[in-house]
C-alpha cells in the first residue's frame, strides 16, 4: 500500500469548504456591518449599565414607576397577543380555506402594520377610538373609554401584532391540506371536533410562535402607542415612553437601566422563540 502523500494546502478534517468564491469579501462586509451597527451599540449600552453599579441600577430599573411601566408594557402586549392569537387564527383560516370576493384585498391589508409608520398608526388609532371617533363615540355611549388608558394601549398593540399570527399560521394551514381532515371525517368526527382535535394541534406550534413574536414586538412598541395611551405615570405609561422621559430629563443613567431591562427581556424572548422553532423543526423532520 502506497503511503499517503500530503499536498500543500489542506482544509480541516471533515469541514466542507464551498468551492464558490467570495466568502472573505462577503463575510467581511457582514461582520463589519453587524459590528458597527449592532454589536458596538449593544456593548455601549451594557457597559453603561454596568458602570452604574448594582444599587443605582436596581433603583433606577426597578423603581415603582418603572415597575408600573413594565406591568403595562408586558401586560398589554400579552393581552394584545392573546387577542391576535384568537382572531389572527380566524383570519388565517378564512384566508386559506375560503374563496370570497375581496379575499386578495383582505390578505394585502393584513400586512398594513408592517408597511404603515407607527406614528401614523398612532394618530389614526386615536382618531378612531377616542370618544369623538368612529368607534370611540358609540363606545362611550356604553360607558366604555377606549383611549387614553391601558385599553388604548392594548388596541394599539393589537394593530401592531396582527400580521405576526396570521402570517405564521397561514403557511402551516396551507401545507396541512385536507388529507387528515378527510381521514378524521371518515372516522365519524364532526367539523368542530376535527378542528379541535386534528387541525389545532397541528398549527399550535405556529400559533405559539406567532403569539410570541407579536408579544415581543408589542413590549417595545412606542410610536403607535404614545398617542392613544394617555401616558400618565403609574397608570398608562409604557416602558419605552419612560425611557424617553428620562432622556428628556437628562437622566441617562435611569434611561439606560430601564433600556437594559427591556433589551435583556427582548433577547431572552428572541432566544426562546428561536429555540422553540428549532426544536419544532427538528421534531418535524425527524
Amino acid at each position: 500500500m502506497a503511503t499517503v502523500s500530503l499536498p500543500l494546502s489542506r482544509t480541516g478534517r471533515g469541514r466542507r469548504k464551498s468551492p464558490l468564491p467570495g466568502l472573505s469579501l462577503t463575510l467581511g462586509i457582514t461582520i463589519t456591518w453587524l459590528t458597527i451597527l449592532l454589536l458596538l451599540p449593544l456593548v455601549a449600552l451594557f457597559l453603561k449599565s454596568v458602570t452604574l453599579g448594582p444599587t443605582h441600577f436596581v433603583d433606577a430599573a426597578f423603581s415603582r414607576r418603572a415597575i408600573a411601566s413594565y406591568e403595562l408594557s408586558f401586560g398589554a402586549a400579552l393581552a394584545a397577543a392573546a387577542v391576535n392569537a384568537v382572531f389572527g387564527l380566524l383570519v388565517a383560516w378564512v384566508l386559506v380555506r375560503y374563496r370570497f370576493p375581496g379575499r386578495r384585498l383582505l390578505s394585502a391589508l393584513v400586512d398594513l402594520p408592517f408597511a404603515l409608520p407607527t406614528a401614523v398608526a398612532g394618530i389614526a388609532l386615536t382618531a378612531v377610538y377616542a370618544n369623538t371617533g368612529w368607534v370611540g363615540k358609540p363606545a362611550s355611549a356604553f360607558g366604555l373609554a377606549l383611549a387614553y388608558n391601558p385599553v388604548g394601549v392594548v388596541i394599539a398593540l393589537t394593530f401592531i401584532g396582527l400580521p405576526f399570527v396570521v402570517r405564521t399560521v397561514e403557511p402551516v394551514l396551507t401545507d396541512l391540506g385536507k388529507g387528515i381532515e378527510e381521514a378524521a371525517a371518515t372516522l365519524g368526527a364532526g367539523r368542530w371536533t376535527i378542528f379541535r382535535r386534528v387541525v389545532l394541534p397541528e398549527i399550535l406550534p405556529a400559533l405559539i410562535t406567532g403569539f410570541a413574536l407579536a408579544f415581543a414586538r408589542g413590549v417595545g412598541e412606542y410610536g403607535s402607542v404614545i398617542f392613544i395611551a394617555g401616558n400618565m405615570p403609574f397608570k398608562s405609561e409604557i416602558a419605552p415612553l419612560l425611557i424617553v422621559t428620562k432622556l428628556e430629563e437628562y437622566d441617562y443613567a435611569g434611561a439606560t437601566a430601564i433600556a437594559t431591562v427591556l433589551l435583556l427581556s427582548s433577547l431572552a424572548l428572541l432566544l426562546l422563540i428561536n429555540a422553540y422553532q428549532g426544536r419544532e423543526l427538528r421534531r418535524r423532520s425527524a
Binding site: 500500500m1 503511503t3 499517503v4 502523500s5 500530503l6 489542506r10 482544509t11 466542507r16 469548504k17 468551492p19
Partner: protein, 238 residues
C-alpha cells in the same frame, strides 16, 4: 487527457467517506465509477472537479497536479445529477454560458458563439430548441442541454454525476447511446458516476467499483464480471 487520482482521503465529520482512493484513467477512456449510495463516488467526482477539497492525496490531469486548482481553471465539463440548468436563461444562453464568461481576450466572436451553440444543439439532437426555457423541457431534454453546455468550452475531461438518475428507462436508454456516441466523436476522457451496474457495463470501457472508501476493483466489464476481486464486488454485482 489522462486523469490520475492518487491516495485521495476525505471524511465527513467522523465518517471516513474516502480512505485511500487511487485510479488511473487513460486518455480517451470512458470509465464508470460504480458503487452503492453513500460510497463516496459523487464526492470523489466532485474532488476531481474541484468542487470539493480532499484532505489528502492528489489529482493530476495529463500528469499536471491540479489538486489546488480552482474548478474554473481545470478545463472540465461537469454534468450535474439534477442538470443545474440556469432556470432564467434560454437553452441557447445556457449552452453559451461557458463561452460568454470568457475573458475578452479569449472570448470568441458573437457569431462564432452562436454557431457553436447551433453545432452543439445538433450534436445532442435538439436542433431549434435554442429559444426555449428549461422549464419547458422534459427531463431527457434538460439532460441533453446540460451535456451540450458542458461541452461548449471543448473540455478534455467530461465528468457526469448520475446523469440518468432522474429519467425513466426508455429515455435512459436513448441517452446512453447518445452519450457514448458523443464521447467517441469528440474524443473526450469521460468519468461518470452511477449506482446502476447494468448501465455501467453497457457504456463503459472500464469500471471502477468503489466500496468502503477504496477502489475494490478496476477493470473492463468482462474482467470484473468473470473475476470479481473479492466478496464485496461479488455481492455488489448480484
Amino acid at each position: 487527457m489522462t486523469i490520475t487520482v492518487r491516495n485521495i482521503v476525505k471524511g465527513f465529520g467522523n465518517y471516513p467517506a474516502l480512505k485511500d482512493v487511487s485510479l488511473d484513467i487513460e486518455d480517451g477512456a470512458f470509465v464508470a465509477l460504480l458503487g452503492p449510495s453513500g460510497s463516496g463516488k459523487t464526492t470523489l467526482l466532485r474532488i476531481i472537479a474541484g468542487l470539493e477539497t480532499a484532505e489528502g492525496g492528489q489529482i493530476l490531469f495529463g500528469g499536471e497536479d491540479v489538486t489546488d486548482r480552482a474548478p474554473q481553471d481545470r478545463g472540465i465539463g461537469f454534468v450535474f445529477q439534477n442538470y443545474a440548468l440556469f432556470r432564467h436563461m434560454t437553452v441557447a444562453h445556457n449552452i453559451a454560458f461557458g463561452l460568454d464568461v470568457m475573458k475578452r481576450s479569449q472570448r470568441p466572436e458573437k457569431a462564432a458563439i452562436k454557431a457553436r451553440v447551433e453545432e452543439l444543439l445538433e450534436l445532442v439532437q435538439l436542433p431549434g430548441y435554442g429559444d426555449r426555457y428549461p422549464a419547458q423541457l422534459s427531463g431527457g431534454q434538460r439532460q441533453r442541454v446540460a451535456l451540450a453546455r458542458a461541452l461548449a468550452r471543448e473540455p478534455s475531461i467530461l465528468l457526469l454525476d448520475e446523469p440518468f438518475g432522474a429519467l425513466d428507462a426508455k429515455v435512459r436508454r436513448e441517452l446512453r447511446g447518445a452519450l457514448r456516441e458523443i464521447h467517441d466523436r469528440v474524443g473526450l476522457t469521460s468519468l461518470f458516476v452511477t449506482h446502476d451496474y447494468e448501465e455501467a457495463f453497457a457504456l463503459a470501457d472500464k469500471v471502477a467499483i468503489l466500496g468502503s472508501g477504496r477502489i475494490e476493483q478496476y477493470g473492463t466489464p468482462e474482467a470484473v464480471q468473470k473475476k470479481p476481486a473479492n466478496d464485496y464486488v461479488r455481492e455488489f454485482l448480484s
